[in-house]
């Protein structure tokens, strides 16, 4: 700052200060007025727009947040419209929350913390245990009365198991997943195998015949316990390795015989180039959650997946990669009967929901309870297994099954005594992630099977 001499400058400053002070105050007040005006306009328009709620006070308004999109979202819209039509006292508004890098959970948690959550939320299933244990969900038991007292019996056992924590029901499935082994018939024939494998040993040898790796480049894949979210956990029920706890109730995969067998079996695939395979899967479209995969591209001989693979993925990909046809067999694991892990897309009622009872009515309706006829027509379109077996007896659903014989293995697995849902615990999500990491580590030879199982236990018991 350049001052021409001390006192004179001071005097100039002081007198300027007094005059300019008032001018500046006026200018700043004008500025403040403008700012307030804009802010007020914004607030008024927000309030005005926000009152889009139904005017009728006797109708219960439910908000439902889902993360679905595309054709699935259209099905959900059909379901919501039908529910609103048949339940005049309840109006469900569905809001689609785009799921970007799984940040939609942050939105839900923030709304629960602030005391203003949606009435229903479609939760990603490994989170249910965490949320239930932390008190973020409303228990549904109070509503299992009257016409709903038979609800849990109506559901598939794995559906009940997958939604219950400490004897309280917290989650109701909208659609269950059933997992079986798809196989590419022409790849199988070309590898010199005439019938689909019936035992694990046959599967291993068939897969080995199908694998073609030339000059370090993968040309064709047989079976690979891949890790795009489908690792150890999804094969666990076939090896009786799903819920391994010790007598103190802690996770104990390390000492569980089924788990050891499964992890060693996974390790037998570590001779195949992991990085190459991940790259190929990504190239096939499994980036950012997509599920166009190497099987629909006709490059993979065996693939563990659910009904959506044949109902949606294969037809939508044009099926051109699938020369010849495909078939589905129950996965030949080490347990006697066919089985599947019981998980799916569950609806939950967040804590603080304004109308939990009506929310439960809607959720059970979505699962198909007292709604069998309608869901019998919707579930085939989505390629879903419903929440309870009676929906599958509906004529529309039966017709779908008959028209697609490859669907045969999926339903009987749901009621098999070997099928289980992953236990709901406060560290369920840690275990889910740990199992995926463990699978990847074993396949990349970063961990031995024993170390991998140790790691899962460590994460689950932390």
């Amino acid at each position: 700052m350049n001052h021409r001499g001390g006192e004179a400058a001071d005097a100039v400053e002081r007198s300027n200060g007094a005059r300019s002070h008032r001018r500046k105050w006026l200018k700043q007040r004008r500025l403040a007025k403008v700012t307030t005006a804009i802010a007020t306009a914004a607030v008024v328009s927000a309030v005005g727009m926000g009152s889009a709620a139904v005017a009728n006070a006797s109708v219960v308004n439910l908000t439902w947040w889902t993360m679905w999109s595309g054709s699935t979202l259209q099905l959900l819209n059909q379901m919501t419209t039908q529910f609103n039509k048949t339940h005049p006292g309840i109006h469900v508004t569905e809001t689609n929350i785009p799921s970007v890098a799984t940040t939609s959970t942050a939105k839900l948690l923030a709304s629960i913390a602030a005391g203003d959550p949606p009435d229903i939320f479609t939760e990603w299933w490994p989170e249910i245990g965490e949320f239930a244990a932390d008190g973020d969900l409303d228990s549904l038991n109070p509503y299992l009365t009257g016409p709903y007292s038979g609800f849990e019996k109506w559901e598939y056992p794995v559906a009940v198991q997958g939604g219950t924590y400490k004897k309280q029901l917290y989650a109701v499935p909208m659609g269950l997943n059933s997992w079986a082994l798809y196989y590419n018939k022409s790849i199988l024939t070309k590898a010199g195998v005439t019938t689909a494998p019936k035992t694990l040993a046959q599967l291993d040898s068939d897969s080995a015949k199908e694998w073609v790796v030339t000059n370090g480049k993968i040309q064709q894949i047989g079976l690979y316990p891949d890790t795009a979210g489908n690792g150890f956990l999804f094969y666990a029920s076939f090896f009786n390795a799903l819920n391994c706890f010790n007598s103190a109730g802690k996770y104990a995969y390390e000492s569980c015989p089924g788990a050891k067998t499964l992890m060693n079996w996974i390790a037998s695939f570590d001779k195949y180039p992991y990085a190459q395979l991940q790259a190929m899967q990504t190239a096939a479209g499994t980036v950012a959650g997509g599920q166009t995969d190497l099987f629909t591209a006709g490059k993979q001989g065996f693939f563990l997946s659910g009904p959506w693979e044949g109902a949606q993925n294969i037809p939508q990909s044009g099926g051109k990669g699938l020369q010849g046809a495909f078939g589905v067999i129950p996965f030949p694991g080490t347990v006697g009967a066919p089985s599947t892990i019981g998980q799916g897309n569950f609806n939950i009622v967040p804590k603080g929901s304004a109308h939990p009872q009506q929310a439960f009515e809607f959720m059970s309706w979505l699962a198909g309870y007292q709604n069998e006829a309608f869901m019998g027509t919707i579930d085939p379109k989505g390629g879903w297994v419903p929440g309870g077996p009676s929906v599958t007896k509906q004529p529309a659903y039966q017709a779908w099954l008959k028209a697609n014989p490859w669907l045969d293995p999926f339903l009987p697995q749901m009621t098999s005594p070997y099928s289980q849902a992953p236990a709901l615990t406060p560290t369920q999500a840690e275990v889910f992630n740990a199992m995926n990491t463990a699978t990847a580590n074993v396949l990349q030879k970063i961990q031995t099977p024993a170390q991998a199982l140790q790691y899962i236990d460590q994460q689950g018991n932390s």
Binding site: T72, S99, S104, G115, Q312
Partner: protein
């Protein structure tokens, strides 16, 4: 005569070599974009084909109307414009005032407070999300754009304030002093002298704020509860889909989301890049 022509020749050579370098860099930076646009015109199986198919045949122009009709595109576009317009006003007004205070007036604690302001950028967004959300909930702002708009009138864009402050500091102090001696108050100097000189910087701030709003998805995702008010960025993620990957759609959506900004940038770049080449009148003695 010969000296002239060889100088001219050297000049042409220099000009050509400059072009060559620019073209090479353009190719390096630009061919992923070319792939994006070409893929947006392919069919789904073509986009996944291995070996890679570069040129789509036939050209599936219908990818664009198809994905545009998957979401209420026009409505989302208007929402984004509103979001951008309001926050641009907020940022220009508050950030320029704050930047002036941090650069053109000398007061005790100024630089410490400035560093405090910049350090607020260092706490991860997700860590403070829940307490901040509770504040906005108590103010009844959650559900619409208010948590994203009102703070911009309170200097929330540290980026803009920082940028303007740096630019203000490149203006010689003598200019302000001369005005002060002539009896001007600080607000006068701010609005009549400094702001006009900082037009390129203000234009830059406006452009960046617009682009920020155009692509911002995390703020709207957390605070807006009514689909009707989603901005274009959320619409893009709605289209991407949770269970299907349609690469041509993804690339068409990305191209459509990028194209308007490209046009905007191309036609406005002179304003903020070239602007005023001569800064201040310099100081003699």
């Amino acid at each position: 005569m010969r000296a002239n022509s060889s100088r001219a020749a050297r000049k042409t050579m220099r000009g050509l070599s400059k072009q060559a370098v620019l073209i090479v860099v353009s190719v390096l930076l630009g061919f992923p974009l070319l792939w994006m646009v070409l893929t947006s015109l392919k069919t789904n199986p073509q986009s996944l084909a291995v070996p890679v198919v570069w040129w789509p045949h036939p050209f599936k122009w219908s990818n664009y109307p198809e994905f545009l009709s998957a979401v209420p595109f026009y409505r989302y576009f208007l929402n984004t414009l509103l979001y951008a317009a309001v926050t641009i006003v907020g940022v220009c007004v508050s950030s320029s005032l704050v930047a002036y205070g941090f650069s053109r007036i000398r007061w005790r604690g100024r630089d410490v407070l400035f560093q405090v302001m910049v350090s607020t950028l260092l706490i991860p967004f997700f860590a403070t999300l829940i307490p901040l959300f509770v504040i906005y909930k108590d103010l009844h702002w959650v559900g619409w754009y208010l948590p994203l708009m009102i703070p911009t009138f309170l200097g929330s864009s540290v980026f803009s304030t920082f940028l303007l402050r740096q630019f203000f500091m490149t203006i010689p102090e003598a200019l302000s002093d001369a005005a002060r001696v002539d009896g001007a108050n600080e607000f006068y100097i701010y609005s009549r002298i400094i702001l006009p000189m900082a037009k390129p910087a203000i234009a830059t701030v406006i452009l960046f704020q617009f682009i920020y709003c155009w692509n911002d998805y995390i703020g709207p995702l957390i605070y807006i509860n009514n689909q009707v008010w989603y901005p274009l960025s959320l619409g893009l993620y709605q289209v991407l889909g949770t269970y299907t990957t349609n690469w041509p759609w993804v690339m068409a959506a990305a191209t459509a989301a990028t194209a308007p900004i490209v046009v905007l940038f191309f036609f406005t770049q002179r304003t903020f890049i070239e602007g005023i080449a001569v800064q201040g009148t310099g100081v003699k003695g």
